[in-house]
């Protein structure tokens, strides 16, 4: 096979690729991430690049204009390499994972995913049922009596005997790796060792045996694997203290912006592998940053708990997700047994354990289970709603007696809520989301009208900042999906919105969401504002609880079995509800009595 050198500018990175590979594939192999919302299908038009030198072969498409063709601009996903190339990737086509400094990224994401401390402070006090502190990995320091003729049980049984003084461990398992080194280790270090115990439900496993007392150094990680953002926390398992939180964009974004595009991508050759690597790379980078910032030895990180939607967990574990997308929408697994983190490509202690919070169905995943756990709605007497507003929205309605969950895919569109609300108020758009005002900030384009928020001169930017009718339509559909899903769930259980005790808003936009505006555009039901509680990243908080308490883990397992999945798409009333919600705030204005424009 012929190979060509492709040089990317201005990165000045050169990769060698086979003939007929796409420029997009070449860029990914060079570690440069180009926007590709559609996953390389030539639909989204976000991956424009300029070929400055060399021969390419490009499939015709309706996205590149004649002018752009003259300037040798191509879609990276539809253009293949036919000679050595120099390719310029403009900023507008990049996913800027690294463009922001860590501090800037932290700041941007801190709003999206509130810090754990914040979550804790706003977390409502329920029955104060606190889970007992019994972390996923526990370190126990043992000083064993040396064997004598009268006490001549084996080294391993001696270890077990000592361990059982610390708790009821019906079954203790040890890997051959540890047994092999046991005899020498005990004798070399005067029978003084620290044992790291990992929990696999009823079974405890001796993960690691170290010389001396290392009990002070016992750390774990919890992760929320989101479609758009991945966030992780480093936790001191002894003190329960959160040492640090870090978030980064999921590098899978290079293969599509929503789960469906990624499932489709996973079916391509090496697709699953690439998606898996993208998520584990993102996580390993977060882990690396966290441990170095807090001066923790990677070997003292003994366990990790992840929660994510079902597709993300499949991709993370390199499991085929293709049936999630196909009727009857069955995942490979909802409950994943405790694994070794290394099996999933996660770099912590090589023998460290990995647990994934169990999911409910293809479209209600472990992140929802974790959210229910951390919000505590499963303990409430009156029905509550938990809305996880993210790329994949999930809604749970329930209390201590029942839990019903549904998925309402919202898409990455909620950044515009404030803007939209103000545009409605100012009369720039009508209730259907069409731009009705006129003036120098309103322009007509091929994609409908657009409103210029900032001219580039006003902010010294390279381009004007605009919102167009298609963007508004997206947001209208997203808010319609969330509202109508809530509405259908409430109706399905023969309740009214007024019966709802509290509405917990989790995830994505949590802390930045202005309740008044969210109700004003019809995203959230028009209820007394005191009923709404922001709980930040409830998925991460739930994963942390599972990390810190085996009771919480058992509860999460029980919850995942208890949740009833409600499929909206087969509900005959859903389309009706949805189309009613495609209006600001709603077609039935009586449902929003306090909203005035």
């Amino acid at each position: 096979m012929e190979k060509y050198k492709v040089k990317f500018i201005p990165d000045n990175l050169t990769v060698s690729v086979e003939k007929d590979k796409t420029i997009l594939a070449a860029a990914i192999s060079a570690g440069i991430y180009i926007n590709s919302n559609c996953g390389g299908d030539g639909i989204c038009g976000r991956c424009k690049v300029m070929v400055q030198h060399g021969q390419v072969n490009s499939q015709p498409n309706g996205i590149i204009t004649a002018q752009e063709r003259k300037e040798n601009i191509y879609l990276a996903c539809l253009t293949t390499v036919h000679s050595d190339l120099d390719v310029l990737i403009p900023d507008s086509s990049r996913i800027n994972f690294d463009k922001l400094t860590p501090e800037e990224l932290e700041e941007r994401l801190s709003g999206l995913y509130s810090k754990a401390e914040d979550v804790l402070t706003v977390k409502p006090k329920f029955d104060d049922k606190v889970f007992k502190h019994s972390p996923f990995a526990t370190k126990i320091y043992l000083e064993l009596p040396a064997p004598t003729l009268n006490d001549s049980i084996s080294d391993l049984e001696r270890l077990y005997r000592a361990l059982r003084k610390f708790g009821e461990f019906p079954v203790i398992e040890t890997g051959l790796f540890n047994i092999r080194q046991l005899g020498e280790l005990l004798r070399d270090y005067d029978w003084k060792v620290t044992v790291t115990l990992g929990r696999r439900d009823e079974i405890v496993e001796i993960v690691l045996i170290e010389p001396g007392d290392t009990t002070g150094r016992n750390f774990g990680l919890c992760f929320d694997i989101g479609t758009t953002t991945i966030s992780g926390q480093l936790v001191n398992l002894n003190s329960k203290k959160i040492l640090g939180t870090k978030a980064a964009y999921n590098q899978q974004a290079a293969f599509g912006s929503d789960v469906i595009t990624r499932i489709v991508y996973a079916a391509k050759s090496d697709g699953l592998e690439k998606l898996h690597n993208a998520v584990s790379d993102t996580m390993n980078q977060i882990i690396k940053d966290l441990v170095s910032a807090h001066k923790v030895d990677l070997n003292n990180v003994n366990c990790i708990v992840c929660s994510g939607n079902t597709t993300m967990v499949h991709l993370f574990l390199n499991m085929d997700p293709s049936h999630i997308r196909r009727q009857p929408y069955v995942p490979t697994a909802n409950f994943i047994p405790v694994l070794r983190a290394a099996e999933a490509g996660i770099n912590i202690n090589p023998r460290g354990l990995l647990n994934c919070v169990p999911g409910v169905s293809s479209y209600v995943g472990g992140d929802t289970t974790a959210g229910i756990l951390s919000s505590g709605i499963y303990q409430k007497e009156d029905p509550c709603i938990l809305i996880d507003i993210g790329t994949n929205g999930e809604i749970v309605l329930g209390n201590r007696d029942f839990l019903v969950a549904c998925a309402a895919s919202a898409g990455p569109a909620f950044e515009g809520i404030d803007l939209l609300s103000e545009m409605l108020k100012a009369g720039i758009i009508d209730r259907a989301g069409k731009i009705k005002a006129q003036g120098k900030r309103i322009r007509s384009t091929d994609n409908g009208k657009e409103f210029v928020i900032c001219f580039k001169e006003e902010i010294q930017a390279q381009a004007d900042i605009v919102i167009n009718e298609a963007d508004i339509e997206n947001l209208k559909r997203s808010k319609g999906a969330i509202y109508s899903a809530c509405s259908i769930l409430v109706k399905h259980l023969n309740l009214e919105f007024t019966d709802i005790h509290k509405i917990f808003i989790a995830g994505g936009f949590g802390t930045y969401l202005d309740i008044e505006k969210a109700i004003g555009i019809g995203l959230l039901p028009d209820l007394p504002r005191s009923k709404f509680i922001f709980i930040g990243n409830s998925s991460l908080a739930g994963a942390r609880e599972v990390l810190l308490s085996s009771q919480a883990k058992s509860m999460a397992d029980a919850l995942a079995l208890k949740i009833t999945y409600f499929e909206l798409s087969v509900n005959p009333g859903y389309m009706e509800e949805y189309s009613q919600a495609l209006f600001f705030p709603h077609t039935d204005l009586t449902k929003f009595p306090t909203v005035r424009f």
């Binding site: 209730r431 009613q580 039935d588």
Partner: protein
């Protein structure tokens, strides 16, 4: 023993819309056509008040029709080639109470008449005939936005019914109707939610809800009539239950839908019956205004209405 009728009383009332303005009202029409105003479901005379019968408008075009069936064309003879003679036959021979003028000749593909030409046509028609008038555009949004304000202005004060406003394109038409004192047709694609949303959007512009006539979009007999039927019925139930944003009378473009069917084209008599039966069914679901094409079908439907409303 006499059977007791179960009567239903509704809190809502359908808007009463008057089309055409007399001299003392600032217009020059010889009559006014009134529709709507009912307080009950269709034809349930005992339940409430039904002040006006359903009305029929003759559809005419500003150019010789291009795709009319032979049977339709022959009903008017050569007259159909001249819009004014065509209108004259409708008014003189068939006693049309209402004319529905479709400005098809302004469509970029069918003549592309200028706004000035369109306005001139409308004022000539209004001068020659004193029948109340419905004016609708050619359906090309961009062009309608140019010609409808001109037509509206030419008919200023005549209290016409002008249309069709759609969700993607309603502002120009509403502004014109507001300025020139017309009623407006709000068209939605067999969708009760969009019908309601559009009414809200129009009233958000300061237009009186009670001057909107809803075109729910219909299908002819065998071509989705039942969808239109149930949408109209649901809208009416909501309106009578008190939803003011849905309390508009209905206009149904029966002729254009019925004569599109292959059954109508296959056999002339069948075409007339297709139009008649489509209209008769829609009267049952609450149509207030029927826009029709064939004079024989109009005659049959008129007789049918008289029978239905015989006290």
């Amino acid at each position: 023993m006499e059977t007791q009728l179960v009567l239903e009383k509704w809190p809502g009332v359908i808007s009463a819309v008057s089309i055409g303005a007399l001299k003392d009202e600032g217009g020059s029409r010889s009559s006014v056509v009134k529709i709507g105003g009912q307080t009950t479901m269709p034809l349930l005379f005992k339940d409430g008040n039904i002040p006006h019968k359903p009305k029929i408008a003759f559809e005419i075009w500003d150019i010789a029709p291009l795709d009319f069936d032979e049977e339709l064309t022959s009903a008017y003879g050569k007259a159909i080639n001249d819009p004014f003679t065509w209108a004259e036959i409708c008014v003189k021979d068939y006693k049309a109470e209402l004319l529905c003028l479709k400005m098809q000749g302004t469509h970029p593909d069918f003549g592309d008449k200028t706004p000035q030409e369109a306005a001139k046509f409308v004022s000539t028609l209004l001068n020659r005939f004193k029948t109340p008038l419905i004016i609708i555009g050619s359906g090309d949004d961009a062009k309608d936005n140019l010609i409808m304000p001109a037509c509206s202005e030419a008919a200023k004060g005549e209290r016409c019914l002008i249309g069709c406003a759609v969700q993607e394109n309603y502002k120009t038409l509403v502004a014109s109707a507001l300025a020139d004192g017309h009623n407006i047709i709000a068209e939605s694609p067999i969708d009760i939610n969009i019908a309601k949303q559009l009414n809200i959007l129009i009233s958000d512009m300061g237009f009186n809800l009670e001057r909107i006539v809803v075109n729910p979009t219909i299908g002819a007999l065998g071509y989705g009539l039942e969808y239109a039927y149930s949408i109209m019925e649901r809208a009416r139930l909501a309106a009578l239950s008190g939803d003011k944003t849905l309390a508009s009378p209905f206009i149904c473009f029966v002729g254009q839908e019925a004569w599109r069917t292959k059954e109508a084209k296959a056999n002339p008599q069948q075409g007339i019956m297709w139009e008649t039966l489509t209209a008769a069914s829609l009267i049952q679901s609450g149509a207030d205004l029927l826009v029709m094409r064939h004079p024989k079908a109009v005659e049959k439907v008129k007789n049918h209405i008289e029978t239905l409303f015989k006290k």
